[in-house]
């Protein structure tokens, strides 16, 4: 096994070979997800906890089902975001879980760097399920698995990512993962939602969404939270849509069978038009299936490390 890490904190620094190994394992795991008897012994005797300081439906469900399909003891902890500042410290919570015998802690947290902090202080493996604006590596892995299914090799493909790049951990993980796999990543967003010097991560920023979509193999939307408008980052949803919404017309500028993707949850009619999200080119629902497979693969690889 090439992947020998204790934790998966992000895709920054993860090698092409490691990513490919995860994707290969995920392809195997997907057969289990698709079978009528979704029960294997891969994680028998293992204890997996999801520790979520932010709301989540699909990521958390996906991890929970992945654990259960592989016979792990799975438990969930929902902590409110406000308890981050007021309640027990993250390190104390992590150490407590350690003592209960957990093998893997899956952490979602509103603050960048929280999984790195936790990983330094606990014995359990940590999977980052999204930290602040930093990374969401399993999302990027499932995105890459989905792309690989339809396109084949990711080497040389063009992926356009449009939406709230600034606040997106999905964007950062995809930039790291996709560029490592040889893909070209082109970003597009209002200038107020593009973080400074993002191009130094190896991607480019397109002047318009039309430029971004031009000849792309994948057009990916990112969620635009309505509170960004209230914070003054753009004047109105209508003006956002005029300039940056993913529409069938804009998707038509991409390659003929280009994929339309979105990590969800979608704001229909904001960053993506329903007519694009529900088009035959959309693989948004397959991304969800890929998510369970990728997470099964990772849980298996992280727990097998010790053996």
């Amino acid at each position: 096994m090439i992947f020998k890490r204790k934790d998966l904190l992000g895709l920054d620094g993860v090698s092409r070979e490691e990513i490919q190994e995860i994707l290969d394992n995920a392809m195997t795991m997907r057969q289990i997800v698709r079978s009528s008897n979704k029960k294997t012994a891969h994680l028998q005797g293992k204890s997996i906890v999801t520790l979520f300081y932010e709301n989540s439906t699909r990521t958390r469900m996906s991890f929970e089902l992945a654990s259960k399909y592989m016979s792990a003891a799975a438990a969930n902890i929902s902590a409110s975001a406000s308890s981050v500042a007021k309640g027990e410290t993250l390190i104390d919570t992590g150490v407590t879980l350690d003592q209960m015998g957990t093998d893997v802690i899956i952490l979602r947290h509103p603050m960048s760097g929280a999984p790195a902090l936790l990983a330094k202080h606990v014995r359990s493996s940590i999977i980052n399920a999204g930290d602040g604006m930093n990374e969401h590596p399993t999302q990027a892995l499932l995105d890459m698995l989905t792309m690989q299914d339809h396109i084949g090799s990711l080497d040389g493909i063009k992926v356009a990512i449009c939406g709230d790049v600034m606040h997106s951990r999905v964007a950062r993980s995809n930039i790291y993962g996709l560029t490592t796999m040889g893909a070209k990543v082109v970003l597009c967003a209002p200038p107020t939602l593009i973080p400074v010097h993002i191009e130094k991560l190896g991607c480019t920023v397109a002047p318009t969404i039309e430029d971004a979509c031009e000849g792309a193999d994948v057009v990916m939307g990112l969620r635009i939270q309505r509170e960004r408008q209230q914070k003054g980052l753009f004047p109105s949803v209508a003006e956002y849509c005029d300039n940056w919404e993913i529409t069938p017309e804009r998707v038509a500028l991409a390659k003929k069978d280009a994929l339309v993707m979105h990590p969800g949850p979608m704001n229909r009619g904001v960053e993506i038009a329903s007519s694009a999200a529900d088009s035959p080119q959309s693989v948004i629902n397959q991304q969800v299936e890929s998510g369970v497979a990728v997470r099964m693969a990772l849980l298996y690889m992280l727990t097998r490390r010790e053996a």
């Binding site: 920054d12 981050v84 500042a85 410290t89 993250l90 390190i91 947290h109 509103p110 603050m111 960048s112 760097g113 929280a114 790195a116 902090l117 930290d131 602040g132 604006m133 930093n134 990374e135 951990r169 950062r172 973080p195 400074v196 010097h197 993002i198 130094k200 991560l201």
Partner: protein, 429 residues
């Protein structure tokens, strides 16, 4: 306390104020410097051997936080003044953001009395608040605080957002011969930022703070001081643009002075990689070009002095997520070694020039004793071993605050002894 005679023998005596840089003996009598000559007889007196060492005026820190009253779990006047002594400081200015705030004479007197009776001996010069409760609304009782012993006013930790309040405070304080120290920061531009805005903040996914947040207010502070013809001192300048604004203002005669800190000349935002909350400080660690500009500013005199902005915190306030970690660095005990290594060993300035930045100039700006080795002046002295290699160990800090990004790093420049009024208050021989 009766103080006997003391001879500091054979050291390299550096006193920038008097242009002294020679090997000599320093005779201290009755708490004052009595003689600086070669081969003074040591008969019947306490001798400190200083051969191969440097004897200089004690450092004076224009900017620190001693946390007393109210946050003694972070630091108090006892531990804080001991830490200052360990760092070679013979005088420190403590900022008013205590609990309660030092915005009235009673708190000022408390600080001075506790420092006098329980402190290490380091002179403590309290800085009073500009506004009551640091709220930026009504002016604090500057006259009464001055009478009680403040040396300057500042709302440090917070900017004075209301430009008119700043203007009125400058006018009013000047009557009492008190000057304003400004924490220059535009809170709207800071937003929810927790580190310098740049490639590193983008990479780490941490909300960034634009340099403009500091520079806009430096420009404002300068313009208000210029319009009023009053004096202003700018705290913790950290950006290239900020240095340039001060440089231009000085050129046209504005009565502006400014400090930077050892961490802005010794660390950059790249240190935040890994999310070490000990790198969280306000203003944030900037980029290499800013670091170089701060060094250049010190060299050409744009920046008058080095202050520590010593900001001790309890480890519980740092062993948390970067976003909710307290801002600040415990700086007394690394100020000299970091400054010496980054400025003198790196070839930007000489040791006498560094001593000018840490001793002579702050004493002048504050108008306090010290900062010189003139015969007849108070014997406030530091003895240094500049070429001694030191690996910073925060666990060994005298300060209660062990929060430092310099932990585990190696520098040059040891403080061997600190002498105040002829009394050795800290010794690391």
């Amino acid at each position: 306390m009766m103080v006997g005679s003391m001879l500091i023998r054979g050291g390299r005596v550096i006193d920038p104020k008097n242009g002294v840089d020679m090997v000599a003996d320093v005779l201290v009598e009755n708490g004052k410097i009595a003689k600086i000559e070669e081969n003074i007889s040591a008969e019947g007196m306490q001798v400190i051997e200083a051969a191969g060492r440097v004897v200089a005026p004690g450092f004076i820190d224009m900017h620190c936080h001693l946390r007393d009253p109210g946050q003694e779990y972070k630091e108090d006047l006892i531990s804080g003044t001991k830490a200052a002594a360990r760092g070679g400081f013979t005088g420190v200015c403590c900022m008013p953001n205590t609990h309660p705030v030092n915005d009235n004479a009673a708190v000022t007197r408390y600080i001075l009395e506790k420092a006098q009776w329980q402190g290490s001996g380091v002179h403590v010069y309290p800085v009073g608040a500009i506004s009551k409760g640091l709220e930026g609304k009504e002016m604090a009782e500057i006259g009464r605080m001055k009478q009680a012993g403040i040396i300057a006013i500042s709302d440090d930790g917070r900017p004075v957002a209301n430009s008119n309040l700043l203007r009125l405070a400058m006018q009013y304080a000047d009557y009492f011969n008190v000057f304003v120290m400004s924490h220059s920061e535009d809170k709207n531009l800071v937003g929810d930022g927790v580190m310098n805005e740049g490639f590193i903040s983008t990479k780490l996914g941490l909300p960034g703070i634009t340099r403009a947040a500091e520079e806009v207010m430096i420009a404002r502070d300068i313009l208000v001081a210029e319009a009023e013809g009053k004096r202003i001192h700018l705290c913790h300048v950290s950006t290239k643009g900020g240095v340039q604004l001060v440089r231009e203002a000085k050129k046209r005669g504005v009565r502006v002075t400014a400090e930077t800190t050892p961490h802005y000349i010794g660390a950059t935002d790249e240190w935040v990689i890994g999310y070490d909350s000990n790198c969280r400080v306000n203003p944030p660690l900037r980029e290499e070009s800013d670091r170089q500009a701060c060094i250049a500013g010190l060299v050409d005199g744009t920046l008058d002095c080095i202050a520590t902005d010593h900001a001790p915190h309890h480890q519980d306030e740092k062993k948390v997520e970067f976003h909710i970690a307290a801002s600040g660095i415990s700086g007394f005990e690394t100020a000299f070694c970091v400054s010496y290594t980054e400025l003198v060993r790196a070839g930007h300035m000489t040791l006498p020039q560094l001593i000018e930045k840490m001793s002579t100039k702050p004493a002048q700006l504050l108008g306090v004793p010290g900062g010189e080795l003139t015969v007849g002046a108070a014997a406030d002295i530091v003895i240094l071993d500049p070429e001694k290699e030191i690996t910073v160990d925060a666990e060994k800090f005298v300060s209660r605050g062990h929060n430092t990004p310099f932990h585990g790093r190696t520098y040059y420049g040891a403080v061997l002894a600190t002498i105040v009024g002829g009394r050795v208050i800290d010794q690391q021989y």
